[in-house]
């Protein structure tokens, strides 16, 4: 492992290209359905609802014809914390008045309600992990931008520059890895000249070490931004009549079916 690999610390999209039914859904459908499911998961009060949510998360991976490897990895990493949180929930009496008392000793009172609250917490977060993992595996960053651009389009009528906003987000996403690479090169150049890159030292010392990085990072980023602006200009950005899109977003019967399924699942989660 190298201390110069800043790219390692970037949150990297886990998108896996595929041809499953989930991949073929309109991006807007995927965004709306995922948002609605997450909201339902947050607000459902009952264990049964959470179990439905978790089942939907796992079934989604099967529908996407993918092994939920990344989600399992994340889930395993989060499990100790979930267990600690659940234990705290149980010990510190989330709902002391509820259910049969299971144990009473001194100040400690554990009721069935406490235990269920702990179980619910684990279930809820597990379902989040599987659903969000699934969502980020079946939708690419560019589909998110295209989808949200289409969903935000009504805002353009009240004067919100939807298109420019989405373009800013897209270019920023594009530039993150480049920024990390630039920082890496600068750090290497300075370490080659004796800068003590390893030294931990106090905040003061570390700030001092960062100072000479800032100027070249800005200069390089500005130069790159200027180059990109020139390239966009040369490719007629902002000089044409109205911009069109290569991808036509169109709701098909699969999307309507997906909405019905998602609606049914959400109703089930909240009402069961």
């Amino acid at each position: 492992m190298s201390e110069f690999e800043f790219l390692r610390d970037l949150p990297i999209g886990q998108y896996v290209p595929g041809d499953s039914i989930l991949h073929r859904l309109d991006p807007r459908t995927r965004i709306l359905a995922a948002t609605a499911l997450i909201l339902a998961l947050t607000f459902t009060p009952r264990t049964a609802g959470l179990l439905v949510g978790l089942a939907v998360g796992l079934a989604g991976w099967a529908l996407a014809r993918m092994y939920p490897g990344p989600a399992l990895k994340g889930w395993r990493a989060a499990l100790p914390f979930l267990l600690i949180l659940a234990l705290l929930q149980i010990l510190f009496q989330a709902r002391p008045e509820e259910g049969r008392v299971l144990y009473r000793g001194g100040w400690l009172v554990i009721s069935a309600g406490d235990v269920w609250a702990g179980i619910n917490l684990i279930l809820r977060f597990s379902a989040y992990i599987f659903l969000l993992g699934l969502f980020s595996s079946v939708i690419s960053a560019s589909q998110i931008t295209r989808g949200s651009e289409a969903l935000l389009r009504p805002l353009a009528r009240v004067g919100f520059p939807v298109h420019d906003f989405v373009m800013v987000v897209q270019v920023t996403l594009r530039f993150f890895p480049l920024l990390a690479q630039t920082a890496e090169r600068i750090a290497k150049a300075q370490a080659s000249r004796g800068a003590d890159w390893n030294a931990r030292g106090n905040v003061f010392r570390r700030a001092q070490r960062m100072a000479p990085m800032i100027v070249p990072l800005f200069v390089t980023s500005l130069r790159r931004a200027e180059n990109l602006a020139l390239a966009m200009d040369a490719r007629a950005y902002g000089s044409g009549p109205a911009r069109t899109s290569m991808v036509e977003l169109k709701f098909g019967w699969v999307d309507y079916a997906a909405f019905i399924v998602a609606g049914a699942v959400i109703a089930l989660m909240v009402l069961v």
Binding site: S142, R193, V219, D233, S239, M246
Partner: protein, 591 residues
């Protein structure tokens, strides 16, 4: 029909008029020229000669301060013409990764047509044909930032092709490419031109300019020459005045003519030269002398222990992430003290990664690295101690400058250590070694320097630590011909004074001049190693590895195959000249 590009009395001044030396002169002064549809034009000139400004005006990215630019018959000043002008004239820029907008390959190609407001079906058709043209169709769904340098360059070209332009400008597009990437780009430009697209390319490489149908040379903001390449490459003195040089083939041809070889006039490309070489006229009864090795330039390997030893080195970037990428896989290197060792190979062959192990920026993940007394597998060996002995000049080092004045930039390294001499003296010493006068340059702002001067500051900033080993990653990349010769001269002086140098370069001429030994890398391992002349003799092997041996080595090989008794191991023009003289003398004596 109107000519494609018309400049009429065009001048341009950048708005930021201030500089250390008062108001800046205009970048372009009263330029008038015409480019017709279907032409294949090279634009050359030293750094700061105005050729980039010309390209930006010709792409309607800048509007002239005075005079007028008409593209496809449309005045670039009128905003209403912009979409049609940008669709008609496309640009491929120098840094490919800076011109990619889309997050996936196909989305990036679609960006231009989307801006033109074309219907989706038409956009998809254009994206497909552009990606097929550059050979990236199979990669259309890949993230655009996970392509190699050559692929990124092709993606940039596809983005322009999808606009269906009538003219494409290449603004130093080959600078960042390795030799095979450059040959590929050149072939693509020729193919596009045959298909009817007007191609205008700006270049520092004279061998590329030699292949154009017309060369326009800029000097101090004005057109200093405009005509066929044969005409500009006739006059070496005049070229030098413009900060330019002859193409390597023309230099080889004049060396051969000095050796009294009969060659037609006006040879400027290597294929022309190789085709014009005469067969060796062995007189009846006379046999060609055996092409034995002269042996004079070769010394037995020194018996003492190697200074740098790399064995079976392994390195994977971003190990354990989805972006993991193997850079080195069993790489070796052995170098002796006081010698210059060249590393060559295509982009991505692992040269830079290997170099970064030699000054402890990276530590071996597998294999062993020893540099002098430092065992870099030993975690207790501190990088700070290594970098004082082993100086690394990274590729494009100017991008990492952070000081305002030359003196401060060079003083950064020495300031990190307790020196036994005053800082000022150390900076003076380093500057003088690279040929920058201390009093003249120490208080100059870095941005006011020329490309070659900036490269020398980068060199001095490493030398200021008084290392005994100097590692140079592409030391002449991006320099114009005059600055390149200047920097090479300084490096060769250092080498003569006993500095151990390890350098990587895509410029075989540089390696032939500086390096005594070469190692060729491919896909992270060494595939060929030996004395420079032996490696460059293997013309066909090198070509198979995507490398282009220096012109002298290629000419020597061609002469041998024509029956000339030319010894093996020729890498420079002087050697070539004397070998031809000797062969001719031998032939005459036998008659």
């Amino acid at each position: 029909m109107d000519p494609l590009v018309v400049f009429e009395g065009v001048s341009y001044s950048y708005e930021t008029g201030e500089s250390a030396a008062g108001p800046r002169p205009p970048a372009l002064k009263d330029v008038s020229l015409t480019i017709e549809a279907g032409e294949f034009v090279a634009v050359v000139g030293a750094n700061g000669s105005g050729k980039s400004t010309f390209a930006r005006l010709a792409a309607a990215l800048l509007i002239p301060t005075s005079g007028s630019v008409r593209l496809l018959g449309l005045d670039t000043r009128a905003a209403a013409h912009r979409a049609r002008v940008h669709a008609g004239v496309g640009v491929v820029f120098q840094f490919p990764e800076d011109q990619i907008v889309g997050m996936t390959v196909e989305e990036d190609v679609a960006f231009g047509p989307e801006n033109l407001g074309l219907p989706p079906a038409e956009i998809r058709a254009r994206v497909e044909s552009a990606l097929r043209e550059v050979g990236l169709w199979e990669h259309r769904l890949r993230p655009s930032n996970m392509l190699s340098a050559g692929q990124t360059q092709r993606l940039a070209l596809a983005g322009v092709l999808a606009m269906r332009p009538r003219c494409i400008l290449f603004d130093e597009a080959s600078t960042m490419l390795d030799p095979s990437g450059r040959l590929g780009l050149m072939a693509a430009m020729r193919r596009l031109n045959r298909e009817g697209i007007t191609v205008v390319f700006i270049t520092h490489f004279m061998e590329e300019a030699a292949e154009a149908g017309r060369v326009i040379a800029f000097h101090q903001g004005q057109v200093a020459f405009d005509g066929p390449p044969r005409a500009i490459f006739q006059d070496r003195e005049r070229l030098a005045g413009l900060g330019l040089d002859l193409p390597p083939a023309a230099r080889a041809a004049s060396a051969l003519r000095r050796a009294r070889l009969d060659l037609p006039a006006g040879i400027i490309t290597l294929p022309e030269l190789l085709a014009a070489l005469p067969p060796f006229h062995a007189r009846p009864g006379a046999e060609a002398a055996p092409p034995g090795r002269s042996g004079s330039s070769r010394m037995p390997d020194s018996p003492n222990q190697a200074l740098i030893e790399v064995r079976d080195l392994e390195h994977v970037y971003l190990k354990g992430t989805p972006l993991a990428h193997r850079a080195l896989h069993g790489a070796n290197l052995t170098t002796h003290a006081g010698r210059a060792h060249g590393l060559l190979g295509k982009t991505g062959s692992g040269k830079s990664t290997l170099m970064q192990h030699l000054n402890a920026l990276l530590r071996p993940q597998g294999g062993r690295v020893r540099v002098g007394p430092f065992d870099l597998n030993d975690a207790s060996v501190r990088r700070r101690d290594v970098v004082r002995q082993v100086g690394l000049v990274l590729q494009n080092p100017e991008a990492q400058f952070f000081a305002y004045y030359v003196g401060d930039e060079i003083a950064f390294g020495p300031r990190q250590f307790d020196l036994d001499e005053p800082l000022r003296e150390r900076v003076r010493w380093a500057m003088e070694w690279v040929g920058l006068d201390f009093e003249t340059f120490k208080d100059r702002p870095l941005f006011a320097l020329s490309g070659g001067e900036r490269r020398k500051v980068a060199l001095a900033s490493i030398l200021a630590l008084k290392p005994s080993v100097l590692l140079l990653d592409e030391p002449t990349a991006g320099l114009d011909p005059r600055s390149r010769i200047d920097v090479l001269g300084k490096l060769s002086a250092m080498q003569i004074q006993g500095m151990t140098i390890v350098l990587s370069s895509h410029q075989m001429e540089d390696l032939a001049l500086l390096a005594r030994e070469l190692t060729v890398y491919e896909k992270g391992r060494d595939v060929l190693s030996g004395p420079t002349e032996d490696v460059f003799d293997q013309v066909d092997v090198l070509k198979a590895h995507g490398l282009e041996p220096p012109a002298a080595a290629q000419v020597a090989q061609a002469l041998r195959s024509l029956g000339w008794p030319i010894r093996a191991g020729i890498t420079g023009l002087r050697d070539l000249e004397s070998a031809v003289v000797a062969a001719l003398r031998g032939a005459n004596e036998r008659v």
